[in-house]
């Protein structure tokens, strides 16, 4: 056993320069701490008070501390300040060390390395160490419900909470996710004070996290804050909101392949359905800027046998006074059609909600034209009010289309339980933001606007309720059930659509990340392993009419 004198100790390694002066301090602690007869005698000689009953526990914590401090990352942050604790009471000292290292404030370095010599080996011999006994949870003042995982050296799967120190800087991303989920749990349990504290913590953590994770977390934190304070107001001016939405969607169109994929695959399905028609009438349930239709018109123009006449009915939000953006859009498309040599007719319908539409408004000519209904990201909004989707599907059935193309997000954001919705949305939008992040060749404005576009969706999914919450995405399985019960049969998208989609994705620089999958006739585009957008096609059930 070595006696503690500052001078006899080897100079500490450079990374532990803070150890020197503090060691000297500790060694001056008196030897006669034998107040408590329960203290371990060996350690007491060195000047450390440890109760024999606590030995196993203290030993395990010391081991944890040693592993933590041997990691360079933490060691350097710990060295910033030195706060001197009295280490003679080992168990409280180790506890305070561990809790300090959870907040990156610094404290003394591991004193046990050099000083506990033979006794340390004695401690290791205690059989309790290998069993990793439960240790009480380290309490952070704000995150009382936060779970923190063990470092990498622990292999056994613990049942309950363990006290850990996060050693890996990559794990700050995991901390962020855990904090977000904890906040959502708190909201689910109506514990709004805790949620408020947690959301602030998420905000600070997110600000220090670079990359996609930080951005997603920031948007989710803002949405959670709005939910806590019940500060969600749907935009009262529908026209302003919708024109902003169109601008943002245009940037989203440019920056990533999801919308292009949707348009091209839907167009291919439409082309195959109207292959022999002389007159084609397309009803677009959400016209936006009409980006889908130039490509269709061009494909129709190149059809062997010449182009059919093309009629487009576009539905948009209510118009501001003195502006008729729908009609102007019609003019642009008409000019384009003239360039293509395609006979073109346009009609714009302004409707606040799709359920307001009646079959007569479309003025269909069932004897002469083949009808197509197209919906990109429009159907899920109707799930906010009960009865709307059924009414729309009945209207669609009444006009007797040859094919209905539906593009929807592939996620279940319409669950009843808020926490489930939150978790789903977190994974979904993390994937989306990840895919945006990798496309470094983009003009930055496109990417930023796309993120704002997605951020608005996040806000709606998380913060809104009732009829305000319009982003009620559902998976293709759910839509299949809904469409089948409404009287539609699926139409399989052909291999042409699949090949075009594959080629489109391979053109993207980050082409390795995007995936096209075929799912029982529907095409899904996803990022890495997560499907994100699904295109599907439907026709009226039971013996369709012959196509003209």
């Amino acid at each position: 056993m070595k006696r503690g004198h500052g001078e006899t100790w080897d100079p500490p390694p450079a990374s532990r320069s803070g150890e020197g002066p503090s060691m000297a301090d500790k060694k001056k602690v008196a030897d006669d701490n034998n107040n408590n007869n329960m203290d371990d005698e060996l350690l007491a000689v060195l000047g450390y008070k440890v109760r024999s009953s606590e030995m196993a526990e203290v030993a395990q914590k010391l081991e944890q501390l040693e592993m933590v401090l041997s990691n360079d990352d933490v060691g350097s942050t710990v060295l910033n300040d030195t706060v001197h604790y009295n280490p003679s009471d080992l168990s409280t000292w180790v506890e305070s060390m561990l809790s300090e290292l959870n907040n990156p404030a610094s404290s003394d370095l591991d004193p046990t390395r050099s000083c506990v010599d033979r006794s340390e080996y004695d401690l290791r011999a205690i059989p309790g160490l290998s069993a990793f006994p439960k240790v009480e949870e380290v309490f952070d003042e704000e995150a009382s419900s936060k779970r923190i995982r063990l470092g990498s050296w622990c292999e056994s799967a613990g049942e309950s909470t363990r006290s850990v120190v996060v050693v890996d800087s990559q794990e700050t991303g995991v901390r962020l996710v855990h904090a977000l989920v904890a906040c959502a749990e708190a909201i689910q349990q109506e514990n709004l004070n805790l949620a408020d504290a947690l959301v602030k913590r998420v905000g600070t953590l997110a600000a220090s996290q670079a990359g996609a994770m930080g951005k997603v977390a920031t948007y989710f934190a803002q949405a959670l804050a709005r939910r806590i304070y019940r500060d969600y107001t749907a935009e009262t001016d529908v026209t302003v909101g919708s024109s902003l939405e169109e601008v943002l969607q245009m940037h989203f169109y440019d920056s990533c392949p999801y919308l292009k994929f949707a348009h091209f695959t839907a167009n291919q399905a439409i082309l195959e359905a109207v292959a022999t028609a002389r007159r084609v009438h397309v009803i677009d349930l959400g016209l936006n800027q009409g980006m889908q239709w130039p490509a269709l018109m061009q494909a129709l123009a190149l059809r062997p046998g010449g182009p059919p006449s093309f009629r487009l009915t576009g539905i948009g939000p209510p118009q501001k006074e003195n502006s008729d953006s729908l009609q102007q859009l019609g003019w642009k498309l008409a000019q384009f059609a003239q360039n293509m040599g395609v006979e073109f007719e346009f009609k714009g319908l302004a409707a606040e909600s799709l359920s307001d539409l009646e079959p007569e408004m479309f003025e269909t000519r069932p004897d002469s034209e083949t009808l197509v209904v197209n919906s990109v990201f429009e159907l899920h909004r109707l799930l906010a009010r009960s009865g709307s989707i059924e009414k729309l599907l009945n209207t669609v059935k009444a006009v007797k289309p040859s094919i209905i193309t539906v593009v929807e997000q592939e996620a279940n954001h319409n669950g009843i339980v808020f926490l489930d919705r939150f978790n789903e949305a977190l994974h979904y939008y993390s994937s989306l933001f990840d895919s945006l992040e990798d496309s470094y060749s983009l003009p930055s404005q496109d990417r930023v606007m796309s993120e704002v576009y997605l951020g608005r969706q996040i806000l709606n999914v998380v913060a809104a309720e009732g009829s305000d919450r319009v982003e009620r995405h559902e998976t293709v399985a759910q839509w299949r059930i809904r469409m089948k019960s409404a009287g539609f049969d699926p139409v399989h998208l052909g291999s042409s659509a699949f090949k075009q989609a594959s080629m489109l994705l391979s053109l993207y620089a980050t082409g390795d990340g995007y995936r096209v999958e075929e799912n029982d006739g529907c095409l899904m585009i996803g990022w890495q392993t997560r499907p994100l957008i699904t295109t599907s096609a439907w026709k009226l059930a039971g013996g369709g009419e012959s196509r003209r």
């Binding site: 494909a299 190149l302 060749s441």
Partner: protein
């Protein structure tokens, strides 16, 4: 320049003597032949040729040269109606620069079938539509170049 050149040659005794020269053939006099030659070039060579002189640059703007370049590997050849569509969208030269060349750079072993052709044309359409009709609407003044095809460009490349 005329075909037959009668050059004046100065003789040492300061008397000029007429000499009949072999008529020089200059390709620059025969634009149609020049076009036929350029049609058989590959992309990089054609672009170099277009930089030789102003005359060649003007000749190289002939769209049929670029049509040949675009669809050389496509079989069967696309129909003639394609020509009117592509010219309406801005011509084969722009199609090559905006769509075909980046696609070939990204996917050099691409087999050009109908589907690939259809996709390239769709992208070209979108680009045209966005350039003409959407840019101004977005409120940029002057309109920013359409970015729907930016994903085809490499980060440092300037087409």
């Amino acid at each position: 320049m005329s075909e037959k050149r009668i050059s004046m040659v100065e003789k040492s005794n300061n008397k000029r003597q007429r000499v009949n020269q072999v008529p020089k053939f200059s390709i620059n006099d025969h634009h149609d032949v020049l076009v036929e030659i350029l049609r058989r070039l590959d992309g990089p060579s054609l672009c170099s040729a277009a930089c030789v002189c102003r005359l060649w640059s003007a000749v190289a703007r002939n769209d049929s040269i670029w049509e040949e370049l675009c669809f050389r590997q496509v079989s069967p050849r696309p129909s003639l109606s394609l020509r009117s569509v592509v010219s309406a969208l801005g011509g084969y030269r722009c199609l090559y620069f905006f769509c075909i060349r980046p696609v070939l750079a990204r996917l050099p072993k691409l087999r050009w079938t109908r589907d690939q052709l259809q996709l390239s044309l769709s992208l070209y359409c979108v680009h045209y539509y966005e350039r003409l009709y959407v840019g101004a609407w977005l409120g940029d003044a002057p309109p920013a170049p359409p970015s729907s095809l930016m994903f085809l460009r490499k980060p440092v490349n300037v087409v």
